[in-house]
Structures are given as C-alpha cells and as structure tokens.
C-alpha cells in the first residue's frame, strides 16, 4: 500500500470530508476495482446477449418465445427487482447517515424482494420445463436458460453475499470497512438490475412482440 495510505488510515473517519466508505485508501482502491470488475461483467453479459439474439429464432420446431412467455409473470419479476434496486438505494442513503438500523432495514427489504424474484424465476423455469421447453430442446432455449439463468445465478450469489455482509454489520457496526462492503454489494445489486432491464427488453418484450 502506498505511503499516503498511512496518513488517511490514521485520520478518523469523522474528520474526512469523504463518505465513510471512501475514507481509507484501501477502500477507495477496492471500490474503484469493483467498478472495473463490473466493466468486465458488462462484456460477459454482452457476449451472452449476442449469443441469445443469434439463436432467438432457432427453435428447431420447439416452443417459441411468444408461446412461452407470460406478460404477467415477467412484469411481476421486473417490478419486484426494480423495486429492490430502489430499496437498496435507500439502504445506501441510510449508510450515508451512518444509521445501522436503517441500513439493516432497507437491505433486508432488498433481500426479501431479491428472494421473491428468484422464487418467481424458479417457478417460471419449472413451468417451462414442465411444458417440455428444456434447454436441451432447442438452441433458442439453450440461449434463454443460459442468459436468464446466469443473471439469476448472479442475483442468488448477491443474496448470499448480502447476508454475509449484514452479519458483519451486526457484529461490527458501521465502520469504514463494513461501510465499504455494504456500498460495494449495493453497486453489484444495481448492476444486476441494469442487466435485467436489457433482459426484460431484448428477451421478454421482443419475445412476445415478434
């Protein structure tokens, strides 16, 4: 770590003009690195989207997007997930106010919404598989399950991660280190919402439109 890390380390968080999560050199490095990581995640999802769009019409005689997708179902998923991003934002606001209770409350709400989203997605997948629309059925379905499933896996991992961080928040209170962790998991959560907006548009809306 650079020498100036020391100086900022020794300064107490209250003296610093920066938000708590940015108060140490280490935290600033880690938050910046996480943004870079999200850049790589964008490329990952872009590749999956490209693959899906190439394969979207290739149903090999199996069910098409229009036959499978239910507007009511994917609208529910979308509303729930977008709301969770809002509550997560309120959690970050609570973080800025150094309110441990506020963070816990809003992040737990976010978690519950995330769990509801995952539950709906699992039900959706089970429903499709029941109709014979498995990922082995056609290239379209391989692309669909992989793209949407990768997003779902990210959300699930995000839920687990958030739980770990909330445990640490309870154990240690709002410190520079826990603040950084809360902030980063929030960034991750918002990112997954942005990805979902693309899934909502390119997979579901285009799927039922054409």
């Amino acid at each position: 770590m650079a020498e100036h890390a020391l100086q900022t380390h020794s300064k107490s968080a209250e003296e610093s003009a920066l938000p708590l999560e940015y108060s140490t050199e280490e935290s600033r490095l880690k938050i910046f690195g996480f943004w870079v990581f999200l850049g790589a995640e964008i490329v990952l999802f872009a590749s999956l989207f490209a693959t899906y769009l190439v394969l979207a019409g290739r149903t090999a005689g199996g069910p098409t997007a229009k036959e499978l997708f239910e507007v009511k179902d994917f609208m529910m998923e979308t509303i729930i997930l977008l709301t969770s991003s809002f509550t997560c934002g309120l959690g970050t606001l609570a973080l800025r106010n150094r309110s441990k209770g506020g963070i816990l409350f809003w992040y737990v709400v976010t978690l519950l919404l995330g769990l509801a989203f995952i539950a709906l997605e699992i039900m959706e997948f089970v429903h499709y598989v029941g109709e014979g629309a498995t990922m082995q059925r056609s290239a379209f379905l391989s692309g669909f399950f992989t793209l949407v499933g990768t997003h779902g896996a990210h959300v699930s991992l995000g839920i687990l991660w958030m739980i770990l961080i909330l445990i640490q928040l309870v154990q240690r209170g709002v410190t520079a280190a826990t603040a950084r962790r809360v902030f980063i998991v929030g960034l991750y959560w918002h990112f997954l919402d942005v990805v979902w907006i693309f899934i909502f548009t390119l997979v579901y809306l285009m799927g039922v439109a054409y």
């Binding site: 770590m1 650079a2 020498e3 890390a5 020391l6 380390h9 600033r28 490095l29 880690k30 910046f32 690195g33 870079v36 990581f37 850049g39 790589a40 995640e41 490329v43 990952l44 590749s47 999956l48 693959t51 190439v54 394969l55 290739r58 149903t59 090999a60 990922m135 082995q136 059925r137 056609s138 290239a139 379209f140 379905l141 391989s142 692309g143 399950f145 992989t146 991660w161 770990l164 961080i165 640490q168 240690r172 280190a177 962790r181």
Partner: protein
C-alpha cells in the same frame, strides 16, 4: 450422474505416454523426497505457497512458464520429428492431433501469458514506485488459479486422454458428437480456471497503475513497459469475459446437452469461431504489447538514450488495442461471411500495421546515434526487429482476403504467427528475463552463455520457420501428420526440423546458464547493474520486500536517470522513515485454487457430485475471506533501517 470410471482412465496405449507417466511419478517422488530430506516443506509453504509479495509471485509465474516452455517445446520437437521426412510414423495420427493441440494451448495460455504476467509482477510496481500491487491477495489467487488450471491441462494426456481439436477447439469438431470423452472437457475447464485468474490480473494491474503511481509520475512520465501493461490490462478486461462465455457455452453443450453449437438443435457452430476470436485476436496483443514495452525499456537502456517518440509509442499502443477488437473475422475469411464483411476485416487488419510500423521506426530512431551496448537482453531486442518485420509483413499478406483463400490453413500461416509470436512475444519474454534477472535474484546471468543461447535460438528459429513460408505456398496444410514423397516438400521440412532442434539446444543452454550463474554469476551489489533509467534500478537487488524505504518523487520520464544526473539529494530522500503497511501472507489463494482444481477434475469426467464439492469448497474459501479483517501488519522503522543498511544503503 453416477460415478463411472471411463474405460481408459489411465492412458496406457502409447509407449511414449507410459514413459512420460513413469517419469512424472519419479519426478514427483523425487521432489517430495528432497523436500522431506532437506526439511523444506515449511519453508516452501511460508515463503512461497502463501506469499502475497508481487516479486515472489512473479518469480513463480516465470518458473512455471519456463517449465511449460519446456513441455510445449518437447511437443513442438515431436511434431517436427514426425514431419522431418515423408511417410514417417514416429507418432500416430491421433497422438499427433493431441500433441499439436497441447503445443498451441500450452504455448499461448500456459507459457506466453504467464511469462508476461511474471515480468509484469516483477517490474511494474517497482517501475511506478509502489510498494505492492493494488490487491496482493487477489494477485496470489490469480497465480494459483493459473497454476492449477495449468496442472489440470497437463495431466490430461495421462489421465483420461488429451484434447485433440486444435488449440482453437472449433465446433463441431470439439462437440460431444465428434469428440466424446474427457479430452475437450480438460481444455474447457482448465482454460476456464486459469482464465479467471487472468481477468483478475488485468483488473489488479489496471488499478495498480492508475492509482498507485509515485507522486509526480503522471501518465506521460510512466516507463514504456508500464504503459504497455496498462493497455494490456484494458484488453484483458474486455477480452477475457468473452472467452469465459465461449468456454462456458461449450461446457454446457457437452455436459448438459444444450444446443449452442450443434446444428441439429438449431445451434450455430460459427458462434464458437466468432466468440473464440473476439477474445483470441486481442489475446495476440495481450502477449505482444508487453513485449513491445520490454523492447522499449531494453533498447533505450542499452542505447543510453531517451526513447525516441515516447508519446507516439503510447498513442500507437492505444490505437493497436482498439483496432485489435475489430479484426477477428480475418481468422476465417474462407468461412463464407461475404465480401462486405471480409473487406471490412481485411482493411481493419491491415490498419494494425500502421501503428506497429510507427513503433518499429521509433525503436530504430532510438538506436540511431546511441552508444549501443550489445548485452544479452539487447541482442534479443535487436534480434526481434527483423523477425517481427517478417512476421508483420506476412501478416499483411494474409490480411488480403482474396489471397487468404490461397494461404488459409497452410504452413504459410503457421510460419506467420510463429514469426509474430516467437519473434515478438517470446523474444520479448527472454529479453525481459535477462534484463530483470539481477533485480529478481541479485546476480546477473552469464553473458557469454546468454549470447550463445541467443544465436543458437535465433538462427534455429529462422531455419525452422522461414522454409515453412515456401512449403506453405506449395500447398502443405497445417495439422497434417504425414505426407507422401515427391511433392518437393522434403528439404524444407528437413531444414525446418534441424532449426527446431537448434532452438532446443538454445533453450538447454539458457537453463544451464541459470544453474551456472546461481554459483558463478556476477553479483549485483549496486542494484543498478545495467546503468538503468527507470525506478526499479534505484533500489537494491534483489528488491527488499517493501520495495521502497521512501516513496520516490518523480519529475520526468526516466526518473532514475535524472536522479543519477543530479548530484544533490532531493527533499524526499531525506525524509525520516515511517512504518510500512504490508499485507499478511495467506494460504487461502492456494487452497481455494486447489478446490477449483477438484471441481474442474470432477466436471472433466462429468462426475457432477465432485464438481459440486469442489465449488462448495471455493464458496467456503470466499466466505472465510469475507470475514477477514486483520490481514495486514506494519514493518517497523528499525527493521527497515536494518534491511537498508544490510543492502549497503544509508
């Protein structure tokens, strides 16, 4: 999925493989015996396996990649032996397929990249006046992921059978219909594991270079090697996720029967070629741009001149990195994308030659009127210019889409990319190895032996690959395992094989040089054995684990050169020492990567239970890391003083 052992779990059919198996077991037993006999297990664990010191990680990368250069080189020699004369049957066709696949995969993923990563680790933090990389723990994890991925790939030919669809692993050839069995799974999973490590290295070095430079070191005062690593890191961050996706999709196809690449289910085999080369073409620049950086350092050091056209060098690299993402279709002009698409990619490919040409002229102008000193690193750097020129010009020939219908898949292509990658990246790695060796170990490699190795390798290299241009134009295609008499190919192939063996001898001399110089090499007592220009030469050799006792302040390009010119000490040099904040060692990167290995091995054989156990192990390690708070310590002033005075510094 139940537990079922494939019929040939341990490969026994081929006598050569059996010999390799016996030798592997003996080597392993020898290592275990030696470590036990000399009581070195604890030393190995405490000093190396758990280290988060970027210099040690760099050394481990370099040792691994030299071993892989040996293995990939043996594969190359086996191929050249098989092709030396017509109608030879040293290898059978299946074994030959496995060997060329292993050769390509190992040389790109497990030799060139880790070698570059090793030199990055050794040099970059020292060049920018930093005490470490941004994320030391992640850095160790990157290395161990590479290492275990590499090991997973390397056991394939002994356990279960090696991949045989070429290093590009094209579908449908690599699909489960045409390639059942574990071979291709090895390819997919080992590259996936090491690829995660590469992505993290890219992120780590991007952040390190952007955020941890010494005060005063603006971007345009950074050493050229550091610049090349910055650009390379950006390419890695944008290219590697594409490989991750390609590998994952084919893994899902093979393990779970989906249809991304199988025509029968509506899939698209060309998706693989596209995704693979969207990563694969930038990959060429991931290994060659840092080599360009090394040449820039070496040439300006040994010409005793500031690098000519510094900013042009930087901008040309930026242009190369951007255009590198727009050329991937030139790898399959003949696959029927149509004239408009082919024309676009033809022109974009040729455009790469412009910034590359700028760089070559800048190196030449740096040499012009320099006080040139032909040390071993300088020989590799100067030797690179003609070989890379040949590689580049034949690249422009290949970029002409209509003409490519003639060259495609021929030895002309083989020769081109060996000229570009050996004459570019490998020469760069070796130049960097000789150049930074004293900084890593505190002694110099023997110059006389170094020159012998250079000339043997360089002449052997040209003898090996130049004839292949001709034999390629005569119609010899790649991946051909034998050929009949009377085609006029024989003399070219024979010369080529002789050249290959000369390269082998050159390599052996290099290894001997290392062993010889450990005892007899010139000791580096000043820390600046080459009269260098950049900050890594301002500290003692080998560098202390905290790198810089005081963080330097920089006011020009070639900071150390200017510090040497100034007689008086600068204010920062007189500042009192302060305790230094350092990361703790951790065994977890090693253990976590071992869990990745377990998961990968299970999935190779489609034992999903084992895959799940491995991944749970990985998750558990991540959980432990999440709860870790006290992962650093301070080095106190008296210890710094002791270390500095032991190195002869006040």
């Amino acid at each position: 999925m139940g537990f079922h052992l494939p019929k040939n779990f341990l490969v026994t059919g081929e006598p050569m493989i059996v010999v390799a198996e016996v030798l592997s077991v003996l080597t392993l037993a020898g290592i275990v015996f030696a470590l036990t006999y000399y009581k070195k297990w604890k030393w190995l664990w405490d000093e190396w396996l758990t280290t988060v010191d970027h210099k040690k990680i760099g050394i481990m990368y370099i040792i691994s990649s030299l071993l892989m250069l040996f293995r990939g080189g043996i594969d190359g020699l086996l191929m050249r032996t098989q092709l030396a004369l017509p109608n030879l049957h040293v290898l059978d066709a299946e074994h030959y397929n496995q060997i060329f696949t292993a050769h390509g995969t190992i040389m790109i993923f497990f030799m060139a990249m880790p070698f570059i990563f090793g030199l990055m680790n050794v040099a970059v933090p020292l060049q920018i006046g930093a005490r470490d990389v941004a994320y030391p723990y992640l850095n160790a994890l990157s290395f161990w992921l590479f290492f275990f991925g590499c090991m997973l790939f390397n056991i394939s030919f002994m356990i279960g059978g090696a991949p045989d669809a070429g290093w590009t692993n094209y579908t449908p050839l690599a699909g489960s219909d045409l390639a059942p069995g574990p071979g291709i799974n090895y390819y997919l999973l080992s590259l996936q594991i090491s690829g995660i490590g590469s992505l993290m290295t890219g992120i780590n070095f991007l952040v390190t270079i952007l955020k941890m430079r010494a005060p005063g070191m603006t971007l345009m005062r950074m050493p050229m090697f550091t610049w090349s690593v910055l650009i390379t890191s950006i390419i890695i961050i944008f290219a590697f996720p594409v490989l991750t996706v390609a590998l994952a999709l084919l893994t899902i196809d093979r393990l779970f029967g989906s249809h991304f690449f199988t025509v029968s289910g509506g899939g698209e085999p060309m998706m693989w070629a596209n995704l693979f080369w969207i990563w694969g073409h930038p990959e060429v620049y991931i290994v060659v741009l840092p080599a360009f950086g090394i040449f820039s350092e070496v040439i300006s050091t040994f010409a005793r001149k500031r690098l000519f056209g510094y900013s042009a060098m930087v901008y040309s690299m930026v242009v190369i990195s951007a255009v590198s993402f727009l050329t991937w279709v030139h790898h399959f002009f003949t696959m029927g994308a149509g004239p408009a698409v082919n024309s676009f990619f033809s022109v974009s490919t040729m455009a790469i030659a412009i910034p590359t040409g700028v760089k070559v002229f800048n190196w030449l102008f740096t040499l012009y009127k320099g006080r040139i000193e032909f040390t071993t690193p300088m020989l590799w750097a100067v030797g690179f210019i003609p070989t890379f020129l040949i590689g580049g010009l034949t690249g422009v020939m290949l970029a002409v889409a209509p003409a490519d219908y003639q060259y495609h898949n021929s030895y002309f292509l083989i020769s081109h990319f060996h000229y570009a990658l050996v004459g570019g990246a490998v020469f760069g790695c070796l130049a960097g190895l000789y150049y930074w060796w004293p900084k890593m170990f505190g002694f110099k490699l023997d110059e006389r032996q170094g020159k012998w190795a250079f000339w043997l390798f360089n002449i052997g290299f040209n003898l090996c690959f130049f004839p292949q241009y001709f034999v390629g134009l005569m119609g010899m295609t790649r991946r051909m395992y034998t050929y009949p008499e009377g085609l006029g190919w024989t003399p070219y192939n024979l010369i080529s094989t002789v050249g290959a063996y000369m390269m082998g001898v050159g390599f052996i001399i290099m290894v001997y040089n290392i062993l010889y110089s450990i005892r007899h090499g010139e000791r580096d007592l000043t820390g600046d054995i080459w009269n260098g220009r950049t900050l890594e030469w301002s500290i003692s050799s080998p560098a202390p684990h905290y790198n810089f006792a005081r963080i330097p302040e920089v006011d020009d390009l070639d900071a150390w050169w200017h510090m040497k010119k100034r007689k008086r000490k600068q204010p920062w040099e007189l500042r009192p020492l302060k305790p230094i904040h350092m990361p703790n060692n951790s065994g977890r990167p090693f253990i976590m990567s071992a869990w990745f290995f377990v998961a990968g091995f299970g999935l190779v054989f489609e034992w999903h239970w084992m895959g799940i156990i491995g991944l749970l192990g990985v998750l558990y390690c991540m959980l432990k890391r999440s709860f870790e708070y006290d992962d650093h310590h301070y080095i106190q002033v008296d210890e710094i003083e002791r270390t500095e005075s032991a190195a002869g510094r006040a």
